[in-house]
């Protein structure tokens, strides 16, 4: 279980996270919604140890990420997919995927490569193993990013606005893969602007507003008129999202109606 | 001076040497600046033959050791023209030409960084070539070139240390003389090093101040 307890994060005088608590249990798909600057990405970065905490505690299966030793262990349990892919530009697609499993998990090279090739095939990139990131489209790069995370066999998959840098067509490619992962029971913590998609795959949705977690509800209750929608900030957020959130299913405007 | 063998005369010798080094640097850098940017302007306006000739010559100077250039001018040229050159003249000639070579390549890059559309606009308004260089190309190219020029200046100050080998009594030669007299090379070369270091840092400081002022003027232009 990922447990976030009263986490505080400041950048200078600006408080980005003002005491946020959240848990993600195995098997859950938890989506974090919130407008830009609400602290969503920072929360993910506090969980994978890229930010130091100014207060509170984050544990991954009991391992405290503030402790360097335990963080090293915790990082074997979770894997992150980034908004801007962050692939290693000087390595082939295959090497991007196999590097950490080989060096960190010390798994045998041929086994990791076989898994990497299988993962690439499953996201429709079987022919790209020997390409370099610079030769791929954004959507292809993000699919590689997902393979790189999955090759760590993580218990928890952290996804930080993974489609924000992609055009609608590429976004659809990537979301299709994530939807499949969700149905396969992968535990995910998902920061996104794709409200409609979140509604479809999440077990729970939390809403961050100015560094505070104001709603944490099962998905159907979040979208219920007497649940999350009763909250004015959430109604405001969803109505702003409406025009661009028609990826699948009913547009958000219908929910609000 | 703490070391037993040193006298106040030695301080005077070093100070004099430093003066010669700084003077030689200032003079040759100024001449090199004028010659190098002149050559860059010639190149920019694509003067046939002359442009190519200058480019090749300056490329040769940039890609060969200054020491060999000094030998060529001080020992080689007199053998060819049957006319001896004084060490200071040979040093001045060599360092000016060498500086010009580096200035030329910095200035060419600076001029190329100014958009062709501006040149065309200025020509359309009827500016002459000289007016174009003075009012449009020059000031903008300078803002691009100032940082590399400051770096070049620090470098050329250090290059002056080579003229000691043809007998100019600069700071390095003064160190050499001092060394022969006191036989304390460790202290002497450390001291000479400190003096060069101080001179170079002062030059960097002045250069950076000049660069900031220039950039402050250029800022409203969006450069």
């Amino acid at each position: 279980m990922i447990a976030v307890e009263g986490v505080v994060k400041r950048f200078g005088a600006h408080t980005v996270l003002g005491g946020v608590s959240l848990t993600v249990a195995p098997g859950e798909v938890v989506t974090i919604l919130g407008s830009s600057g609400s602290g969503k990405s920072t929360l993910i970065r506090c969980i994978n140890g890229l930010e130091t905490l100014d207060g509170g505690r984050v544990t991954v299966d009991g391992l405290d990420v503030a402790d360097p030793r335990q963080l090293a262990q915790a990082r074997r349990l979770s894997a992150t997919v980034f908004q801007l892919f962050n692939l290693y530009p000087h390595m082939t697609v295959l090497r991007n995927i196999t590097l950490a499993p080989e060096l960190v998990l010390r798994r045998p090279k041929n086994e990791v490569e076989a898994q990497a090739r299988a993962l690439l095939a499953s996201v429709g990139l079987a022919g790209k193993a020997d390409s370099y990131p610079g030769q791929l489209s954004g959507g292809q790069r993000q699919r590689v990013g997902i393979c790189r995370a999955l090759a760590m066999n993580p218990r928890y998959l952290l996804l930080d606005e993974v489609t924000s840098a992609l055009d609608p067509e590429m976004t659809a490619e990537v979301l299709a893969i994530l939807a499949r992962l969700a149905t396969q029971g992968t535990t995910m913590l998902f920061v996104t602007h794709e409200v409609e998609f979140a509604r479809r795959i999440s077990t729970r949705i939390v809403f961050l507003d100015q560094g505070r977690l104001i709603v944490d509800l099962p998905t159907d209750q979040f979208f219920a008129a007497d649940g999350g929608l009763a909250h004015p900030r959430i109604r405001q957020f969803l109505s702003k999202m409406a025009p661009s959130s028609t990826v699948a299913g009913a547009p958000v405007s219908e929910i609000l109606a | 001076m703490r070391h037993a063998g040193f006298t106040w005369h030695d301080g005077a010798l070093l100070a004099q040497g430093l003066g010669v080094s700084l003077g030689l640097f200032a003079g040759t850098f100024l001449i090199g600046l004028i010659l190098g940017s002149g050559a860059a302007v010639v190149r920019h306006f694509r003067v046939p033959a002359l442009g190519t000739l200058l480019h090749t010559g300056l490329e040769l100077l940039r890609n060969s050791p200054v020491l060999v250039q000094l030998f060529l001018v001080f020992f080689g040229v007199p053998a060819l023209i049957h006319q001896p050159l004084t060490p200071v003249f040979a040093a001045g000639l060599t360092l000016s030409a060498n500086t010009a070579a580096f200035v030329y390549f910095i200035a060419v890059a600076g001029l190329d960084a100014v958009g062709r559309d501006q040149v065309e606009a200025a020509r359309a308004f009827g500016l002459s070539r000289i007016q174009l260089v003075r009012h449009i190309l020059g000031p903008q190219a300078l803002t691009f070139a100032v940082a590399p020029l400051v770096g070049l200046a620090v470098n050329q100050l250090q290059v002056t240390s080579l003229v000691s080998v043809i007998g100019v009594v600069d700071l390095t030669k003064a160190g050499d003389i001092l060394n022969l007299r006191t036989l304390r090379p460790f202290a002497v070369w450390a001291m000479v090093g400190v003096l060069y270091f101080a001179a170079a840092k002062t030059l960097t400081l002045l250069g950076n101040r000049w660069e900031r002022r220039l950039r402050a003027h250029a800022a409203p232009l969006g450069l």
Binding site: L50, F85, N86, M152 | A79, Y196
Partner: protein, 235 residues
């Protein structure tokens, strides 16, 4: 006395021997400079006393003339009991000064790396040494090849100064040939052209190496400007 290069013919063997010594001292000096530049470049990026020390080192060696450094090593060190012969003084001096100039290049190469790429390696669980060796340096050195190349070309030119500490590299042998033949102009003109030709060839080689090693590096690994708003949303 008209310009006549044939006077050099009987001395080509001597000059070639000098050129080989230049090649040797430069090859070793460049190798040392590369190793030192890499180490100092990594240290200089970091904070703390190690970073400060690295930056101080660079500052000193960049602001003292090479000839003074060489004299200090060759004449100064024996006074305190350290004896190094002319050849190894040359290697050491080239390595020390090349390390200083090169480390600035490596440092800016490191600073130009997309931070997200390093973050990806961190959350992947790679150790700090593994991140430096497998991610940071391979990327930084690729972007640094061209400027590092000019540092090394300058080292080759600076190596002529080693003739001043009795090392008979090519400039030193040329001095001998010049005084023997009484044809200094021909000797030094030939030498100047030889250095220029050599450095030109080296820079062509560096350009080719740069293109080869960077042929896949379309960018620094991130989608800068790949889509509108790509850089926003650090919520």
């Amino acid at each position: 006395m008209p310009f006549d290069l044939t006077v050099l013919t009987p001395h080509l063997d001597t000059l070639l021997a000098g050129a080989l010594l230049t090649a040797g001292v430069c090859a070793l000096g460049i190798a040392a400079a590369f190793a030192l530049a890499t180490a100092l470049g990594v240290l200089a990026v970091g904070g703390g006393w190690a970073g400060r020390l690295a930056r101080l080192y660079v500052d000193v060696f960049r602001n003292v003339p090479f000839v003074v450094q060489v004299f200090f090593l060759f004449y100064g060190l024996p006074e305190v009991g350290v004896y190094i012969d002319a050849f190894w003084t040359g290697v050491l001096a080239l390595g020390l000064v090349g390390g200083a100039y090169g480390s600035d290049v490596v440092r800016s190469g490191i600073l130009a790396i997309e931070p997200g790429v390093v973050e990806a390696a961190k959350v992947g669980g790679l150790s700090r040494p593994a991140i430096i060796r497998r991610i940071v340096l391979p990327i930084a050195l690729r972007t640094a090849i061209r400027p590092l190349g000019s540092v090394f070309v300058n080292l080759v030119l600076s190596s002529s100064i080693l003739s001043m500490i009795t090392l008979d590299e090519v400039t030193g042998t040329a001095r001998g040939v010049a005084s023997e033949t009484y044809r200094p102009f021909e000797v030094y003109a030939f030498l100047l052209a030889a250095y220029a030709g050599l450095t030109y060839a080296v820079s062509l080689g560096i350009d080719a190496l740069h293109r080869r090693l960077n042929r896949h590096m379309a960018d620094n690994g991130a989608a800068r400007g790949a889509a509108p708003g790509a850089m926003e949303g650090t919520a």
